[in-house]
């Protein structure tokens, strides 16, 4: 492992890689801080640009943007009560009241320090846990990979926002879309309606761009197009020692909690932030101060969401399991670069894996250095109206989608999914579940059929092998647990009082 880490360190200090890292931090900072530009959307936009790059630079760029986005989402959450990313939702609770009290600089300082600390704890988790998981996963064959894909699909239970039926519908839509095109094993065209472009299937980039970016611009087009909040003058102070002393316990607890939650596939940084916030309230001697501008109320979600975002790379790199929508896109990026995340990645591409791991550590150090000047510059960028941002976002989506296969047909697919995403978003349909199906569908089908080929068509191969059976057992548990919980909570609830 030490050898790998040295390899990663040597790689990251190469001028070309370090420059990409700096660009990623800058792009991620801006993207995360702009409401309406999510980390997922930004990575989708940047993804086509990485085609021409060598894999190490490409993944430094993508993962840096991912982490920097989670970090900078707190800026608008604190200043405008508008979280730049979903992960910063809980930061609003105490961040915005501090701004109202004229303590915006202090609130931002706490958030910067907490984010960097959380991110570094997450990176340490990544360094020690990912190789262990990867070594274990070397024993994997087709049935185990199929079981893993199924386990990945059960993330639907958390992504479906409490409505499992609609979540499963989303996953099946995604899985079905992934079957369109020529069957890779038999060469039979499936659901192509004799259309030549459909023979090569539906690429996931137009679906992603449509569902997330186009639908968001459509939604925003109905709003008032200017951010009207006035910007107050403030000075960010990161190392405020009396405050550090005050938040130290919360910072440690939330960083560890966030890292542990992030390792679990599918739980994600948003949940980690919310859970850490509620734990901070539970453990506090003054819970009544929360929601009114308590520094711990910023430290808890910010350290947890950053540590969770970094440690979410553990299942992605070592098992090939995405933790959420953004990591699902990164998983797709691996596939597009001809790489398969999972145990073999550690054996075949040690330099790439350890460069990603080291870059995660470096990003968090850079955050402390760059946060202050960025927040100052950002105060000016925030004034860009959506009438400029919207066309630019859509232009990038069209070019990005076209560039995948040089196909205008893909742009039409993007438009179609833009409308679908817009209406699904309005009825709060969990869009991420569709992405989950599209990304994991091909892996699941291929390994399922390969597994059956290994066993001569005998389905019991999936439950006769211990690892595969255990993973499928976990998958079943992940799906049934929320249902059982619902049943039991209904039973224990007192009957409603009539009249």
């Amino acid at each position: 492992m030490l050898e790998g880490l040295m390899l990663g360190l040597q790689s990251i200090v190469e001028p070309q890689h370090f420059l990409v890292l700096l660009i990623g931090v800058f792009v991620g900072f801006i993207g995360g801080a702009l409401p309406g530009v999510s980390g997922t959307m930004l990575i989708i936009i940047v993804l086509p640009i990485t085609y021409g790059m060598e894999p190490i630079s490409a993944f430094i760029l993508l993962t840096t943007i991912y982490v920097a986005c989670v970090f900078s989402g707190m800026i608008t959450a604190i200043l405008f009560r508008t979280p730049g990313t979903p992960e910063s939702v809980a930061t609003v609770f105490d961040g915005y009241p501090m701004t109202q009290q004229g303590k915006a600089g202090q609130a931002l300082g706490i958030a910067v320090l907490s984010s960097a600390t959380g991110g570094m704890v997450g990176a340490i988790f990544l360094i020690f846990l990912a190789p262990v998981l990867a070594t274990f996963a070397l024993q994997f064959s087709a049935p185990e990979y199929f079981a893993l894909a199924i386990l990945g699909l059960t993330v639907v239970a958390t992504l479906s926002g409490g409505d499992l039926i609609r979540g499963v519908i989303g996953v099946t839509i995604g899985l079905f879309i992934a079957t369109i095109g020529m069957d890779p094993l038999s060469g039979i065209p499936r659901f192509t309606f004799e259309s030549a472009p459909l023979l090569s299937g539906v690429d996931f980039i137009p679906i992603l761009a449509g569902l997330f970016a186009v639908s968001e611009v459509l939604r925003r087009s109905r709003d008032d197009h200017s951010i009207k909040d006035t910007f107050q003058k403030f000075k960010t102070k990161i190392f405020d020692f009396p405050i550090i002393k005050k938040i130290l316990t919360t910072l440690t607890r939330s960083s560890l909690l966030g890292s542990a939650i992030g390792v679990l596939p599918g739980v994600g940084a948003t949940t980690a932030a919310m859970l850490s916030y509620s734990e901070a309230v539970r453990w506090s001697k003054h819970p009544e101060k929360f929601g009114k501008g308590a520094p711990e109320g910023i430290a808890a979600p910010e350290s947890a969401n950053n540590s969770a975002a970094v440690s979410a790379m553990v299942p992605l790199l070592s098992l090939g399991l995405p933790g959420g929508a953004t990591t699902a896109v990164i998983l797709g990026a691996f596939v597009m670069h001809g790489l398969q995340p999972g145990p073999m990645l550690f054996t075949n591409e040690p330099q790439l894996v350890y460069t990603i791991i080291i870059s995660m550590l470096v990003i968090n150090l850079l955050m402390i250095i760059f946060a202050k000047p960025f927040i100052t510059i950002f105060s000016k960028i925030m004034n860009i109206p959506y009438s400029v941002m919207g066309p630019v976002i859509l232009l990038l989506c069209v070019i990005g989608t076209f560039a995948v296969r040089n196909s205008m047909f893909d742009v039409w697919i993007m438009l179609l999914f833009g409308i679908i995403g817009f209406y699904f978003d309005r009825i709060k349909f969990p869009l991420a579940t569709i992405i989950l199906g599209v990304v994991l569908g091909p892996i699941a089908e291929e390994e399922f059929r390969r597994g059956l080929l290994m066993a001569g068509g005998d389905l019991s191969i999936f439950i006769n092998r211990p690892i595969s059976a255990t993973l499928l057992g976990f998958a079943l548990l992940a799906l049934t647990l929320p249902l059982l919980k619902k049943v039991f909570s209904k039973k224990t609830q007192p009957p409603p009082v009539s009249g």
């Binding site: 079905f176 459509l218 087009s221 709003d223 066309p391 069209v398 560039a403 080929l453």
Partner: protein
């Protein structure tokens, strides 16, 4: 609000339609292999089942009188139909690009979209269009050599002057 009801009808109809298509896929099964239709069939059966469950749940909730329908995420938008305008501009751009080329279609697209999104000053419109188009040309045409559509006839010849 009948969103779940409509959603369940769409899901059930689509899954039945594609299930019928799946049954008509050619048979390629040989020793140890499975048909190309098996995996989509499994998915579509689950989709159909979920559609039915959603319909039943919606029906039961309506019968009981406490409808748990998801509420629309917006209350009262300022421009309720503007998304159709944006979509029309986007569709027009997608249609026009293969005919008049990326170089000509893009500035028009940016100006129109910026207008729809509330930009009114002519100077701002021209500036936004010029800067974003210029940046896109530099980045994607020169930087990444992406063969964006050149258009036909005159537009094609014109594009060769630039890239």
């Amino acid at each position: 609000m009948k969103y779940n009801g409509i959603l369940s009808i769409i899901v059930i109809s689509l899954s039945i339609f594609f299930l019928v298509m799946t049954f008509n896929l050619p048979d390629t099964e040989s020793a140890g292999t499975i048909n190309a239709s098996v995996w989509p069939m499994m998915i579509l059966f689950v989709m159909l089942l979920m559609g039915i469950l959603l319909a039943l749940r919606t029906y039961r909730e309506r019968a009981k009188g406490h409808i748990k329908e998801p509420k629309e995420s917006e209350s009262k938008p300022e421009n309720p139909q503007y998304h159709w305008l944006v979509m029309a501009v986007l569709a027009g751009y997608t249609l026009a690009m293969p005919l008049i080329g990326f170089l000509v279609a893009t500035p028009l697209f940016i100006v129109l979209l910026a207008l729809v999104l509330g930009m009114t000053k002519i100077r701002s419109l021209l500036l936004t269009s010029f800067i974003s188009h210029g940046a896109a040309v530099l980045l994607f045409l020169y930087g990444f050599n992406i063969p964006l559509p050149r258009g036909i006839g005159f537009f094609r010849s014109f594009s060769f002057l630039i890239y």
